[in-house]
């Protein structure tokens, strides 16, 4: 029998006893040495003791038994653990060199298929050589890749059948049993091992076993074995919330390692062998709130996403998935995360007291989100009981075509009452470009009518069309907060800030905010900046903030936290229209302004870049329902057509961010008054729906 071959000759005597008395469950004799909690009974121990009596080698204690078993398991696995050497890559990321570092793979078919992880194997890896325990070298050709579990299937040509290791039985695997991690990166001729226990089952949303054996680039792709040499899983750079292989590597000595269960890998093989690349399945919803123990309620359902196509709606509460009851966010993730694009997800949702069954087909990537557009500016200052009064209708917009006029009040959308600007905005955002929505509108001639409107995409050059009306300042009591020049400070931050609040500020008319990331400017220059922009800020009800960075000179990513807190504090003190909050960046601060705005989670509605193209290395996230940024590029006539600026514009538009370009007659850092007004008008128009 296998076990007998597996262990060395000296140990056969106690195995014989083992087999006679304890078959079929032969793991027991080794388990007894684990710990008290793993001890199962008297007989196996006696067997071990008898074996010890029979063989003086084990006279001292039981340790040699487990040592022998571990060695035997590794020895048996040796021929199936392969070294992969990429031949000629020289990529390096974030200080962690990946160049030419070998990795490990496991034989999964006698015909020459190997499984490794994606770690250190970029998609353009070029030629990869597989080196077997006996020194044989052969080319490994990539067959397919699982981007979700970070696995790669390889095919090698082999003259003789390759040895495939037995797979552990999932129902027998339990926490506390021995786990042996095997790799082949230190040396081609000998495997390296690390011994620990199975720390947990069903980790990483059910996609991994956890072990305290050391899992790192030294053995990624190698097998995690049980004490009998059966494969528990493939060691992989997984993390529950990690987005990157390197997230896992950073924890290599933290006592937390993961392996993709081998029984899962085995089920994937037939798909991978056909050359099918697998991707994590995306549903396209955002859940309400961040409380992991709160009810699982859909907060947004991206238009055109599998969720929207299957009929899920904002407000639906998910009560079951794949037949499993869903109480918490994590229950839901356990059902969703292991799924691949192309697979179905069965959900039961509760809507208005009814339970509805929904089947969504997951996709690899959502279609880029494009914000639907009605074509109005709401009148933020008007005082009406219900509905949203219209301040301005953009020419050529769907709203204009439907006969909506300034002064009209939007009362309902598809039969739902519109009670606030937020509710109208949320309804339009839940739709998609091309969707037909029936609005009930009350016109200024007091005539209430229903109109069907087909929503369009946001126009790019929106702001630079004929000027919208300016809001009438609201008559009323003077504000109780500071207006005019202010110097907001945050106690725990050393940064300073100069600011200006329109004198006519009234809490009933929310302000826009220009947060100007000036670079290396002196106190005087900042004063001059405030003086120049003050009149237009008054006119367009916008606050100007000019902070200076921590070191007084250069902005760094560390300042982003300060900016976030500055906006939070401002929002607490003043009524702010978050969609009219913009970050202003120039050459050195453009990247920070954009990154901060994109990561602000909806606290910022726009970015103004003063003759400052975005760095080519900056990752531009696609527009999403939670965060959509509009951009205004201010350029001199000379730079307007310059290549970097055009590239920036194209890259932003590809990700569906609306981009307007303003060519200024002054210099972009100090535009003429008419251009300053144009900037403010653009900001004013960001509250469009």
């Amino acid at each position: 029998m296998k076990q007998a071959e597996l262990l060395s000759r000296e140990s056969i005597s106690h195995l014989e006893i083992d087999r006679m008395q304890f078959s079929p469950n032969r793991r027991k004799p080794f388990e007894i040495v684990l710990s008290a909690s793993a001890m199962h009974g008297l007989l196996p121990l006696l067997a071990a003791c008898l074996a010890s009596l029979a063989n003086p080698l084990y006279g001292q204690n039981l340790t040699p038994l487990e040592q022998e078993a571990i060695r035997a398991a590794v020895q048996e696995a040796d021929a199936s653990v392969v070294r992969l050497e990429p031949v000629g890559i020289t990529t390096a990321r974030e200080g962690v060199g990946l160049s030419l570092a070998p990795s490990t793979a496991l034989v999964v078919s006698a015909e020459g298929h190997l499984i490794s992880t994606t770690f250190g194997i970029p998609e353009d890896a070029g030629q990869v050589v597989a080196i077997f325990a006996d020194g044989t070298r052969t080319i490994a050709a990539e067959v397919a890749r699982d981007h979700s579990r970070r696995l790669v299937l390889w095919k090698t040509e082999s003259e003789s059948p390759l040895p495939v290791l037995p797979v552990a039985n999932p129902s027998e695997v339990h926490v506390g049993e021995w786990a042996i991690a095997v790799g082949r990166t230190y040396s081609a001729s000998h495997p390296s091992i690390s011994v620990g226990i199975v720390s947990a089952l069903n980790r990483v949303w059910g996609m991994a076993l956890q072990t305290d054996a050391k899992v790192s680039p030294v053995n990624y792709g190698g097998p995690l074995l049980d004490i009998e040499g059966r494969v528990l899983g493939i060691l992989a750079p997984l993390m529950p919330e990690g987005t990157d292989d390197l997230d896992a590597v950073r924890r290599y000595d933290a006592g937390v390692g993961f392996a993709v269960p081998m029984w899962q890998v085995r089920e994937l093989l037939s798909r991978l062998q056909k050359g099918e690349d697998l991707h994590a399945g995306v549903l396209g919803i955002a859940l309400v709130g961040r409380n992991p123990f709160g009810p699982v309620v859909i907060g947004a359902c991206q238009a055109g996403s599998p969720a929207a196509l299957a009929g899920l709606r904002q407000g639906d509460r998910i009560v079951a998935a794949e037949g499993q009851p869903i109480r918490f966010r994590s229950d839901f993730l356990y059902q969703l995360r292991p799924k691949y694009a192309g697979e179905e997800l069965r959900l039961t949702v509760e809507r208005e007291g009814e339970q509805i069954e929904i089947v969504a087909t997951l996709v690899e990537e959502l279609p880029p989100y494009e914000r639907p557009y009605l074509g109005i500016l709401p009148d933020l200052a008007a005082n009406v009981e219900s509905g949203v009064p219209v301040r301005y209708v953009f020419p050529g917009s769907p709203a204009q075509a439907a006969g909506i006029e300034p002064g009209s009040v939007i009362l309902q959308a598809d039969g739902q009452d519109i009670t606030s600007v937020e509710s109208l905005l949320a309804y339009v955002r839940s739709q998609w470009v091309g969707a037909k929505v029936t609005f009930r509108v009350e016109r200024s001639d007091a005539e209430s009518m229903e109109v069907e409107i087909t929503l369009q995409g946001l126009p790019q050059e929106l702001s630079l069309q004929p000027p919208p009306l300016l809001p009438e300042p609201v008559e009323g009591e003077a504000a109780e907060v500071a207006t005019g020049r202010i110097n907001p400070s945050l106690p725990e931050h050393p940064q300073t800030c100069l600011g200006y609040v329109p004198e006519a500020y009234d809490p009933r008319l929310p302000l826009g905010v220009m947060l100007w990331l000036a670079e290396g400017t002196s106190e005087q220059e900042r004063e001059a900046l405030l003086a120049a922009w003050q009149p237009v800020c008054d006119e367009f009800q916008t606050m100007l903030l000019v902070p200076s960075p921590e070191d007084g000179q250069d902005w760094s990513l560390e300042d982003a936290e300060y900016l976030q807190k500055l906006i939070e504090q401002t929002t607490q003190r003043y009524e702010i229209d978050s969609r009219r909050v913009v970050a202003v960046g120039s050459r050195k601060t453009a990247a920070l302004a954009f990154r901060w705005a994109a990561a602000s989670g909806g606290a910022v509605g726009g970015v103004v870049l003063l003759e400052a193209p975005l760095p080519a290395t900056l990752v531009i996230p696609p527009a999403s329902p939670e965060s959509d940024l509009s951009l205004l590029l201010v350029a001199s006539p000379a730079s307007n057509t310059a290549r970097p600026l055009i590239q920036t514009k194209q890259r932003l538009r590809e990700k569906k961010h609306p981009v307007a370009v303003l060519t200024t007659r002054g210099t972009p850092l100090d535009p003429e008054e008419a251009d300053r007004e144009a900037v403010l008008r653009w900001i004013d128009a960001l509250s469009r729906i």
């Binding site: 199962h40 009974g41 080319i139 390296s192």
Partner: protein, 349 residues
């Protein structure tokens, strides 16, 4: 078999005792080495305090008593770079130590304190261990043990026995030789000079200084095998002539080079010119073996080569009296050729 919870566990414990009794060995322990063994080893491990304390360099490390007269084996480091080296023994006694000898290529130092009849590791009883063996590490890692506190004990298994020399450029250390890699995090600040032992308390290795893998940025946890240090150490103790450093002789007297093979590589113009074969001389050993122009050399012997320079360097490490294995990429195919020894007839020692 039926699991019956604590009852069964109790029975299991009883049976361990029974087993011990059966074996007539009252000190036999189930799955851990006995406390006696641990105490004995701890008593032979010392704390060393010296120079440092600036720029993140710790002013302390660990050492091993290797004679009853107070000889101490440790790792050569900046800690010893001072006239005042203090050694604290397991019993808490403090001693002033003198630096007796060092070996830079082995990164080893010998200290001596004025003592008699101290517990020590008998160098006759050192052990070699296989991959997968349980081992124990004893050291004053992070300086957590002070005064008469015994040094810390860690537990792990031998992950691999590797050759640091075979990983040229991957680790920056003067030591070029075999190491035991351990799967516990044993090479911490202050741990250098500590002991790696087996479960019987026999000395296996000397814990090295912290070392990082340049390719993966991972720290290596390792110990230098005592058997490697032993000849030099013995010579140091006896005051006799030291054996030649075995790692100085890695370069063969008659190495391979390209002219011997008849292979001409493409002109080496770039920093890392890929080693394509430009031409192979007719009738040359290379041609006879089967190499052709446009082959890309991928391995020389066991070494992966990615540049013309690397080919030359790898050849210089291989003995021309042995056959030369070359692996090349021809189109999409990997091919392996063996060139017979060239130096065979000239010299034979």
């Amino acid at each position: 078999m039926v699991r019956t919870g604590t009852g069964t566990r109790h029975t299991a414990r009883m049976s361990v005792l029974l087993a011990c009794w059966l074996l007539g060995n009252p000190t036999a322990w189930g799955d851990v080495p006995s406390p006696d063994v641990l105490r004995q080893v701890q008593s032979k491990v010392v704390k060393i305090y010296g120079a440092g304390g600036i720029r993140g360099l710790e002013p302390y490390q660990t050492g091993l008593l290797i004679s009853a007269e107070g000889h101490i084996l440790t790792v050569w480091s900046t800690v010893l770079d001072t006239v005042e080296i203090t050694v604290v023994l397991d019993d808490g006694s403090r001693h002033s130590a003198t630096l007796q000898d060092t070996d830079v290529s082995l990164e080893m130092a010998l200290l001596k304190i004025d003592a008699s009849d101290v517990p020590y590791f008998d160098l006759v009883e050192v052990a070699e261990v296989e991959t997968g063996t349980w081992v124990l590490a004893f050291s004053n890692l992070f300086g957590v043990a002070a005064g008469d506190e015994p040094v810390s004990v860690q537990h792990g298994c031998v992950s691999a026995r590797i050759d640091l020399d075979a990983r040229r450029g991957v680790f920056s250390t003067p030591y070029r030789g075999p190491v035991y890699v351990v799967d516990a995090i044993v090479n911490n600040p202050g741990a250098a000079g500590g002991a790696l032992t087996d479960y019987q308390g026999r000395l296996v290795g000397l814990l090295g200084k912290e070392l990082r893998d340049a390719r993966t940025s991972l720290w290596l946890n390792y110990a230098i095998p005592l058997t490697t240090l032993q000849p030099t150490l013995q010579a140091m103790l006896e005051g006799s002539a030291r054996p030649d450093n075995p790692f100085d002789q890695l370069r063969p007297a008659e190495p391979w080079d390209l002219p011997q093979t008849g292979i001409l590589l493409v002109p080496d113009v770039l920093d890392k010119t890929p080693p394509f074969v430009d031409a192979v001389a007719p009738e040359s050993p290379g041609r006879t073996a089967g190499l052709l122009p446009d082959d890309l050399i991928v391995y020389v012997g066991e070494e992966l080569v990615t540049s013309c320079q690397a080919v030359r360097e790898s050849l210089a490490m291989l003995d021309a009296r042995q056959p030369l294995r070359m692996t090349v990429m021809r189109g999409d195919e990997l091919r392996q050729y063996e060139i017979p020894p060239q130096a065979e007839n000239r010299t034979r020692e």
